[in-house]
């Protein structure tokens, strides 16, 4: 006999409710598989986002049993409690409908934290050589693999408490730019990151580093920014 999962899913906007569905359990089933099953077989009206299904694109993040996760790489048997799943939209973002949130503020804050690259070279110039083993390059490498899924942003208590805080993903990006020797906008970056709502607003709860699905360390990046831009930091 097929085991049945009891799945509660957030339906509606901000004032929505949880609705219950019964979904057959499968081997190696992911949370995204469950949501897709519901949309295809039980409730075609369900709104959610996904694209690559292999943990590359960062679009399928949701809150699963209270914890923000990338659903395409989260196995049901690892997170379900007594055969139950509660799937809600990401926290700290406005709900558009069901499991879909408005990601615009999340990306606007990347800009606010100075996350846009600025260079001075054109394609006609010779490429600047960067030593792959240099300290700065290694620090940048450690921070660049972000998939923009907003799991860290959703798990951050400080983002929840302060609207103006740019959040861990944006500051992690800022830290990789800080270490980018080709980035010419360092002064602007410093101003953005030091501003209210920037790195000094973080309390180092480190929920971001704990929840990051690709094992980045945004809390470490933020701590490094705090140090680098303080009176004890190295000049850059």
């Amino acid at each position: 006999m097929t085991k049945i999962l009891t799945v509660k899913i957030w339906r509606g906007g901000k004032d929505g409710t949880l609705e219950s569905y019964s979904v057959p359990a499968r081997k190696s089933q992911t949370v995204l598989d469950v949501v897709t099953y519901i949309q295809r077989h039980l409730d075609a009206d369900l709104s959610y986002r996904f694209a690559c299904r292999v943990g590359m694109c960062g679009s399928c993040a949701m809150t699963v049993n209270g914890v923000p996760r990338w659903t395409c790489r989260t196995h049901v048997d690892k997170v379900s409690q007594d055969g139950q799943l509660i799937i809600e939209p990401l926290k700290n973002l406005e709900i558009i409908r069901d499991l879909t949130t408005d990601m615009v503020p999340f990306f606007e804050k990347w800009e606010k934290a100075g996350g846009r690259f600025e260079g001075k070279q054109s394609r006609a110039d010779k490429i600047t050589a960067i030593d792959p083993d240099s300290k700065k390059r290694l620090a940048a490498s450690a921070a660049i693999e972000c998939i923009n899924c907003a799991v860290c942003y959703s798990g951050c208590d400080t983002v929840r408490a302060r609207d103006d805080y740019v959040g861990p993903a944006a500051l992690n990006r800022a830290w990789s730019l800080f270490n980018d020797e080709k980035h010419t906008g360092q002064r602007k970056l410093k101003k953005s990151v030091k501003a209210d709502g920037g790195c000094y607003t973080c309390h180092t709860h480190a929920n971001c580093s704990q929840s990051c699905p690709v094992d980045l360390d945004p809390a470490g990046s933020i701590a490094s920014l705090k140090r680098s831009y303080s009176m004890f930091g190295s000049r850059s």
């Binding site: 302060r162 030091k194 501003a195 920037g198 000094y200 309390h203 831009y229």
Partner: protein, 108 residues
Amino acid sequence: MSDATAYMLQRLSAAVLAPLVLIHLGLIVYAIEGGLSAAEILSRTTSTPLWAVFYFVFIIAVSIHAPLGLRNIIREWTGRHGRSLDWMMGTFALVLLLTGMRAVMVIT
């Protein structure tokens, strides 16, 4: 006050407070364990200006540190920010400083 300034002041005052709090607690335990009377304690704290300096620094660090922590809590729990919050915390810092100084002057 900007988040950056508040952060640095908070950390610097914490660095000052960390050893001072340990010594302060150790002192309390020592005085109680040794069974010293209030008069005996007072005679010792007044015997050297070192304790006055110690607690003078202590009170200044506390007057910086505590209002900044409270400021964060008020800001995050109530959303209040800007000049009114700075005034509130400035007043709180002053109260801590004055009452603290008064206490230090009495015992040293």
